[in-house]
């Protein structure tokens, strides 16, 4: 088990009605906010009205930035920075899912830092970060409780991860009822994203952080159980609540304590979203089982056996490779059952950019995974996914 430092600064208020605590939390830090949201779903699920009521009730001045896209674009960041500076706003409040939160974090970092935003994103260089607050409306990215953000630049076909310790939201409101209206497709994609974060942390060579890996198995079981329930019964509170809490725990550091974690598939997927603007969770669902097949070998099989037996309850008396292959099949089956695509063809992607994408997806961090991936390996995984 490796050394680690633990410090989670986010205060969470989880549950129905907890938005009542938002105004007082913001007031501790600022009298004004940039209110950031996406395409308008927050006006249907109640989150926007509840948020605005809180701001008004507590006399918090606000300016709106709406229309933040999925795979949030650097153009939205630029616009947010301009609004914050012009209106001298002291904090950024995201109402939405991972894209809105990521965009808000990077706005918060660029406002107080000299430099062109896209350069700042690429260098992850921020001098000062405004406090970030969050009202979550989809369970997926975990951005509500971590320091990371991913921003896309359509002009350069790049999707870049960035972050700063001060980008961790100061306070996030997690009300599962705001996710009742999330579509079946987005619920499935969000669940696949949570599962992918968990796989990235769980499927490693180092198995000495045993307890942490048991937590990972618990999150996977939670997604498998409640993903389907939420898809079939969108207003099932228990399902929405468990998925929401799983989303935060899958990427707030809990699953990385004591181990080096590579996040291989995320880098491979980011190129799909960068080139084709597909939903991140959909790309992950297509790639993950193929990546699993590709890295299954004598060295990695024992971890797949644990996964198969502990998460999928596969008969322990089968041979290790039988268990591993069954576990990978069940992973694909799980995504299929949730209605997610299984091939790149289904989302309109062919092999045109595979070389470029493999080039960009290569990451030295892959050394920590089961087996280091070369650019050629990544290209093969794209090809397996056609």
């Amino acid at each position: 088990m490796q050394n680690f430092d633990y410090s989670i600064r986010t205060t969470l208020h989880f549950g129905k009605g907890q938005i009542e605590k938002l105004g007082q939390e913001i007031k501790k830090h600022s009298d004004s906010v940039l209110l950031v949201y996406g395409g308008g779903s927050v006006k249907k699920n109640g989150a926007y009205d509840d948020t605005v009521n809180q701001l008004k009730e507590h006399g918090i001045r606000f300016v709106e930035l709406s229309g933040v896209d999925p795979n949030p674009k650097i153009s939205s960041v630029r616009e947010g920075v301009r609004l914050c500076r012009e209106n001298k706003l002291g904090a950024v409040l995201a109402v939405g899912g991972g894209s809105v939160i990521d965009c808000s974090k990077v706005i918060a970092g660029c406002v107080g830092t000299d430099g062109e935003p896209w350069n700042l994103v690429k260098q992850a260089h921020y001098d000062k970060v405004l406090p970030v607050f969050c009202v979550l409306t989809i369970s997926a990215t975990g951005s509500e409780m971590n320091l990371g953000a991913v921003i896309s630049n359509p002009e350069t076909k790049q999707k870049v991860g960035t972050g700063h310790p001060d980008m961790v939201p100061v306070c996030s409101i997690l009300n599962p009822t705001y996710t009742f209206s999330v579509s079946k497709k987005q619920t499935a994609a969000g669940t696949a994203d949570i599962m992918s974060h968990t796989f990235e942390s769980y499927l490693t060579v180092d198995q000495s952080a045993y307890m942490v890996d048991k937590f990972a198995e618990g999150i996977l079981k939670t997604c498998i159980k409640y993903g389907m329930i939420a898809i079939n019964e969108p207003q099932n509170y228990e399902a929405r609540a468990n998925l929401m809490w799983a989303s935060s725990n899958a990427l707030n550091g809990t699953l990385c304590m004591g181990k080096a974690v590579p996040f291989s598939v995320h880098e491979i997927e980011h190129q799909l979203s960068a080139y084709y603007d597909i939903t991140h969770g959909v790309g992950l669902a297509i790639l993950t089982p193929n990546w699993m097949k590709y890295v299954l070998n004598d060295k990695t099989v024992s971890r797949f056996v644990e996964y198969g037996v502990n998460v999928w309850d596969i008969d322990k008396s089968l041979s290790p490779f039988e268990i591993a292959e069954l576990a990978i099949q069940k992973t694909r089956g799980c995504f299929n059952n949730m209605g997610l695509p299984a091939t790149l063809g289904e989302v309109g992607i062919d092999d045109q950019y595979f070389d470029e994408m493999a080039e960009k997806a290569y990451n030295p961090g892959y050394q920590y995974t089961f087996q280091p991936l070369t650019k050629a390996d990544i290209k093969k995984i794209y090809r397996m996914s056609l």
Copy 2:
């Protein structure tokens, strides 16, 4: 799943050599500390020397309070308060296990509060709490990452839980090698304590916080696996590290998020320690399987089935009561294998004070457990444990 608020303020530095960060962490808050420890084991395991080196290196003035007992006494608190006031100390640094940390927390609370310490403890009333720091040397209570403390008063035969949000340690150093020299008996008792914290959170009527309960199962499996390894191979780093991280997670709030948690057995055990000064974890190991037997009924059996199947891998095709009874037997067997006593007789306790103890152990919080316990029920559980 119930509403909850999440805010964990402790920064942890986990692993070998991490004590190097202690001085700088203290310096952010104070130039002086009361250095609290117990009977001197910290001088053998290296924690005392490493700590003093850090204090000297960073020019932090310190005064020592040594000799804090297991089941820490109010007299130690009074002495610590006197030393802090006389020497105008700005923080309290615990080097030890749960008893030393608990004592340190309460000293930190009583220094800045007018009133007789025992009254403050009972009322859990503290106006101002000095920052608390911690170098952990035994995996057991989780006190290194929570707001609670338990203090004993031998004169009144009382053992009282107290606490304050500002008693949560600001920073804790968790170096598993400091626990290499913990005796087999104390390792077993500490592991039983971690398991008990987990049972208290896990074994409830409300099963809607599914993911949290999966985490609980993970902690139980960790204790079952690594408790025996640590007993047999005291210098096994992986075992000591997993137990240490389990100890913090079993009682830092993680297992209570989204559910009401009764902590029934702890109250029942506290009376044993208060009357007979036995090791807390030993008392818990004696009582817990009997409590389980006592509360096993039609309403609770389904949770015991989950426990048996998921934690002990018991054959699912057996009847629910067979599984539950086997799971309880296995719990007792686990404690037996670790060398823990199974009866009150083995630790010199007879039925002399059962009435008084049952009176004091009664807690209205029992409504949240499988079944409310009356004073008569508690007395029966004591009697089953003779």
